[in-house]
């Protein structure tokens, strides 16, 4: 989570902390499309896929479900402080894919309370987070979304290392007989499968692509500069047709992925106006396409040695990006389910 959130709440930090928090709750009041542009620019400027992911985890994955399904009290309690950067919210990337992975947190009803037990790994931003969005399954398999504050008794947060995206601080969450009231439930109890889960999945698929668009542009810019500076066989690389063709393909992939992203993001805005829903198919195809674009752009850039090692880091992080959001197997199944009207 690091820099953009944890620094003093400058304007820039505030903008990145709460772009999707409405103006009347102290946020940026940006549209989904504008937020994507902001995240693209952040990815390009920071040259750090991990930081970009950290920003998405807090400002989109932890924020939007609360905006969409939160009670007025929940919204008033959390969103202004999340927008200012005072509080950070965190979400596990293993919980943004519905129940395609078996749930690892159990919820038991005990009188007026819920008792949560279990462990969630790969929580983006966990070490610095103030609260967590956690999905837990009933004994009969129905799932509910919870807002769990860091100081809740029974909650433990443990920082974890990660080979990829290290600047998005990672952690593991353990809940041990963690007692929560009904006011900790986000949305309808036992209805996460039709409320928070589809939303989280689509947000993950769409918005995590945005910083990568910026990173790909940075890689392309580096590669162009590199081709003008370096020589091989005594000729500038910029004269090498294979280098030129590769750079052209990198540019094509950037444009295509950006187009996919902008359509999918705009649907979250159309939804806010017309009440129509964003298309999960478009969200999934966006991620499927962008993951492939990122893989091919980072592979093409990987033999360059950019000043700050962006090409190497991006190549490493690209594999992580391609494996999260469900990875190709989940995304292909989801898109196929839509196109084939099966699933």
């Amino acid at each position: 989570m690091a820099i953009p959130i944890i620094t003093a709440p400058t304007d820039a930090a505030t903008r990145l902390a709460g772009p999707l928090v409405p103006l009347d709750l102290g946020g940026g009041g940006l549209s989904a499309a504008e937020t994507c542009e902001l995240l693209e620019a952040f990815g390009e400027g920071s040259r750090d896929p991990g930081l970009g992911l950290a920003a998405v985890a807090h400002a989109v994955l932890a924020t939007v479900p609360m905006r969409a399904f939160g009670t007025p009290d929940q919204r008033r309690h959390y969103l202004p402080r999340m927008a200012s950067g005072e509080w950070t919210g965190a979400v596990s990337l293993l919980q943004t894919q519905g129940a395609s992975l078996a749930p690892t947190v159990n919820a038991q009803r005990a009188e007026k309370n819920w008792i949560l037990d279990g462990t969630v790994d790969l929580v983006a931003g966990a070490p610095a987070a103030h609260h967590f969005l956690v999905i837990a399954a009933d004994p009969d398999g129905e799932r509910t979304a919870f807002l769990v504050d860091r100081d809740t008794p029974g909650l433990q947060v443990e920082p974890t290392g990660s080979g990829a995206m290290p600047s998005c601080l990672w952690g593991r969450l353990t809940v041990d007989s963690c007692r929560l009231g009904d006011d900790a439930v986000l949305g309808t109890p036992r209805a996460a499968a039709r409320e928070v889960e589809p939303l989280l999945a689509a947000l993950d698929w769409v918005f995590t692509c945005a910083p990568w668009i910026g990173v790909m542009r940075a890689l392309l810019g580096d590669a162009v500069a590199d081709a003008r500076d370096r020589h091989r066989f005594g000729r500038p690389l910029a004269h090498s047709q294979s280098v030129r063709l590769d750079l052209a393909d990198m540019a094509v992939q950037c444009e295509l992925a950006a187009g996919m992203l902008h359509r999918a993001a705009a649907e979250f805005d159309v939804g806010t106006r017309s009440g129509a829903r964003p298309s999960y198919e478009h969200a999934a195809t966006t991620r499927l396409f962008t993951a492939a674009a990122v893989r091919s752009v980072t592979a093409a850039a990987a033999h360059l040695h950019s000043a700050d090692g962006l090409a190497e880091r991006a190549h490493r992080d690209a594999a992580f990006f391609a494996a999260t959001g469900g990875g190709g197997e989940v995304l292909r199944a989801v898109v196929a389910a839509s196109v084939l009207e099966l699933g």
């Binding site: 159309v270 939804g271 298309s279 478009h282 396409f289 084939l340």
Partner: protein, 406 residues
Amino acid sequence: MLRIDHPRTAHPGIAARAADTDTTGHIPAQNWKELADAGYGALFHSDEDGGSGADSDAQVAAMEALARDCPSTYWSATVSSLLCAKLIATYGDSTHRPLLHALISGRRLAAFGVVETAAGSDAGTYQTTVRPASPPGSAGPAGTGFTITGEKSRITNAPNADLAVVLARRERAAGDDGPDWCLAFVDLHQPGVHRYAIPHMGLRGMPWGGLVFTDALVAEADVIPVPLDELSEGMTWGWLLVSVAAIGIAESALAASVAHAGSRVSFGRPLAHMEGVQAQIALSRAEIDAARLLARRAAAERTAGRPARSLIAMLKIYATEMAVGVTERAVQIHGATGVTAGHEVERLYRDAQMNVIGAFASNRLRELVAENLGLGPAVYAPFDWVRSTGLAQDPVGLNGPSLEGT
């Protein structure tokens, strides 16, 4: 739920005749009538040019819908009513209004004569030349028109067009310091014109072939000097046309794949339940969407008159190669059915490759994109830099030169 749907068929009659159009290599007259009735050509042109002034999204949607129905008919009709008509609208004047209307309405058909037999898209090699019908100072009455001589090849609509918009060199009189090149609007129904057809792998219904001009006559008003550079912006209409053809072909191939996967049962289950098939379909869905979104954006820029050369080049590169991949997957999903002559997918597979070849080739366009990225123009040098480096020589084996030849 919001869905900006991809276009479905717009001309069921044309779609129903697509297989026959391919088999016979001939576009039925009924197709032309239905397109004229639908006002297809008018969509691309403003009211003042005699069109109906559709916005760019509607234009792309209409193009794709026709490309889905019958790629051959789409190519033939769109080369004439979009590409050629745009060139006439841009470079012609009021005397060309009737001609423009005839192309837009589909009453006349035009071909765009660029490529010659020597070397594809390299204009430096073109020989076709326009010269004054009677050279100034000769015996005949001067200034009554021009003649054109040369051969254009691999031209859509060449075998049956009424008119060709031809890129030609200008033979300039002394003191004429205008451009070296011109566009000539040449009536093809005259003695100095010979045409021939070239049989081709895909888009078989699309007329394709060559035009041989031997002192064919061109009216003075129909020869328009144009700098070559400027013309290249006009050609982007052609790249857009080809790209949308590819997208329509890919969408049809995907639709056929989805239908086949849903109905074909193998090993007791529909193909649609096989993840391998699902993966191919999901990938095709994502790739077609990406191409279409770029096509809409590029068309919006181009229609608004903004420079879109690099964007349309990117589109042409991606969309045409994408469609080859999508039709390939469609053939694989269909198995032997997909290579049976007369099957839609067999036809689309052959059609798709034509778009990669049509207009500028992919690598030529990649060079253009690279230049636009700031890499400078392509710099050619003879390929002679490997051997001097000590590479590209067979090395010795483990024991070195001492044992060689023993």
